[in-house]
Amino acid sequence: MATYVKFQPFVEALAEKVHNLGSDQLTLFLTTNAAIPTVGMATLSEVTQISYTNLSSRNITTSTSAQTSGTYKLVLTDLVLTASGAVATFRHFGIYNDTSTTDHLICMFDYGSDVTMASGDTFTVDFSASNGLLQIV
């Protein structure tokens, strides 16, 4: 199974009031395999993104942000990206906080193959409703 990669500065940013995961706008970013982000990166300006021409909105809707019995869980609505024309090739996708002043990074995933979308193609990020994107114990 492909790995969930947490950006390490995220935990400090979370502890120091950079994120409000219950209300901030989380957004997806895409990168090529030649520009893989590293776990020590903190903000979006450090990431080399692809051009998003011909791609639908990358904004993610938060479903729930709540704790049960002391375990916090962030659950997100599935995001469907749709191409209206040729889209630049990508392989890695990640999530950042678009509300935070410097767009702090949260996590990323490796699709494992280059994805080249043509008109009508879709790329869905299906977040688990039971596990959530992340949990804090």
Binding site: M1, A2, T3, Y4, F93, F109, D110, Y111, G112, S113, D114, V115, T116, M117, A118, G120, D121, T122, F123, T124, V125, D126, F127, S128, S130, N131, G132, L133, L134, Q135
Partner: protein, 52 residues
């Protein structure tokens, strides 16, 4: 029309994300699936557009 769906799971017991790429380009779908054993390739038939 046949739609090719390439599915892959990411994460662990605490975090689970499934990514799903769909295309009507069979050659592209088969090339991607063969290059990555973690990707599962399935197909789905879409009804033809009656307006055509």
């Amino acid at each position: 029309m046949t739609r090719y769906i390439l599915t892959q799971e990411h994460g662990d017991e605490k975090t689970r994300v499934t990514s799903r790429f769909t295309t009507t380009d069979r050659e592209k779908a088969e090339r991607m699936a063969s290059s990555n054993p973690r990707i599962e390739l399935t197909t789905e038939e879409e009804p033809d557009d009656p307006s055509n």
